[in-house]
Amino acid sequence: MTDIPVTNDVRLGEGDLPELYRSGRAKQARARRNRILSYIAGLLVLAFIVAIGDWSKIQRLYLDPDKARSLFPDIITIAAKNTVIYTLAAFLGGVAIGLLMAIMKMSSLRPYRWFAVTYIEIFRGLPALLTITLVGFVTPTALGVKFPEILGVPTAGIIALSLVAGAYLAETIRAGIQGVPPGQVEAARSLGMTPNQTLRIVVIPQAFRLVIPPLTNEMVLLLKDTALLSALGTTTATVELTKFGRDAFSKDFNGTPFIVAGVIYLMLTIPLTYVVGRLEKRNMRTR
């Protein structure tokens, strides 16, 4: 055996480099210069905003500590709580409708497919605010039904939001179901499972794992759309965050409630996206 030369005293960057390849140095310098210019541009914009803003006025009108304190505890115990309840209720309703529509859209029966397509096109195409007012005001008049309040929740608005969410979720869930590999269905059927069992216990659980990210996205959108429910009128017990903020604002035209409400919205949505990121990672491991 020949001796292999020991080369552990060679240093990084001390090798030979032909002239042709030395243009890398100039490219790195250009990239560094561009980075510095970007920082300077950003700082200039920031300085401009600071210079033109009337900061004492901004603080008085948007960051008034006394006004902020006066919002508590109601903004949490009533408004934020209602926002969360409305979101969850509409989301559950939306998932139920979405799942039903997704399955109908993949049905072998043509009328079911037509119904699902029509439903999805209508409720995806209409503004949510229009659907909410339609369900809340016109339906009771037209059909002579009165939506009951269940546990203090105004159901008309929740139903309307569920209808809208259901239309969006139907397509998401359908994509999830179709994203499950056909081999899964074949394996289930080869074990003697019926088409129904296969869908219920093999396909749908996997489909939901696939669509967790878009599902959460829909939940965040829904959380924000609960602000539209105030169009149906609210009481001090059913008020949600945005309406609560507007009511507090209209007392003295101080904008602080909007800032507080905004912070609370973000405190709800940002953890939600974070939790989903974690769930996604965990699912990656089990797939």
Partner: protein, 251 residues
């Protein structure tokens, strides 16, 4: 039970045809597999061997001919396929384990939902089957945590847990890294020695030669040559089989 039923082949194909659009993949296959017999189907890709296998439990819908399981015509329009399939285990090239369930969950699912076994019974059978394929200690692992060979053995355990009368293997080792093929083939060989009726589509000529009772060579949608493994693999009669074996055994 009448004498005719006792002597009926486990699997019998009569003039089986299958077309995908204009493309006829199976052009009238006759094949008979006795109970406890191990039959290997070999042939180039595109010869129709996987399609034939998938017609046996009607995962693929035949376009002509008959498939008889234990003498029962399962191509009859009134046939309850879910019932038939409980008796025919199937193992796929891509394993097709349920990724959201543990190994144990994979093996218990159909027992509980199809055979309506209690959780305790299903778990007991599942652990027994996982032990049989050498994976007792992997019961709580998810498929993604297992190697391809281990996943395929779980898939075999999943099929066996239904106490099937016969097993279909669709290129069960083709998706595996070479060093993992042996473990799966060992399980299949043991199964064969225990008297399981097996129809095996494979590229493993060694397995076919040592384990099969009967080898079928398919080419362009027809059975080109069949017989005892030593005859078919050792003394091919048709030029097409000779060419095929040359190509396969070259390496």
């Amino acid at each position: 039970m009448t004498a005719a039923e006792i002597t009926a082949p486990a699997i019998e194909l009569r003039g089986l045809r299958k077309s995908f659009g204009r493309n006829e993949v199976l052009k009238g296959i006759d094949l008979s597999i006795a109970p406890r017999q191990v039959v290997c189907i070999i042939g180039a890709s595109g010869s129709g061997k996987s399609t034939l296998l998938r017609c046996v439990n009607r995962l693929e819908e035949p376009t002509g001919g008959q498939v008889l399981i234990d003498g029962i015509d399962i191509t009859h329009p009134d046939c309850d396929l879910d019932l038939v399939r409980q008796n025919i285990g199937m193992v796929f090239q891509q394993f097709n384990l349920f990724p959201h369930l543990t190994a144990l969950g994979n093996v218990t699912l159909a027992q509980r939902k199809v055979l309506k076994r209690s959780d305790d019974d299903a778990n007991r059978v599942a652990r027994e089957m996982l032990d049989r394929v050498g994976l007792a200690e992997k019961a709580d692992s998810y498929p993604a945590q297992l190697s391809g060979g281990q996943q395929q053995r779980v898939a075999i355990a999943r099929a066996l847990a239904m106490n099937p009368e016969m097993m279909l293997f669709d290129e069960a080792t083709s998706a595996l890294d070479p060093e993992l093929v042996g473990d799966v083939l060992d399980v299949m060989r043991t199964l064969a020695s225990e008297g399981m009726t097996m129809l095996v589509v494979t590229h493993e000529m060694g397995f076919a030669r040592r384990v099969a009772d009967h080898v079928v060579f398919m080419d362009q949608g027809v059975v080109c040559e069949q017989g005892r493994p030593d005859d078919v693999l050792g003394n091919p009669q048709t030029p097409r089989l000779q060419q095929f074996l040359e190509k396969v055994l070259e390496h």
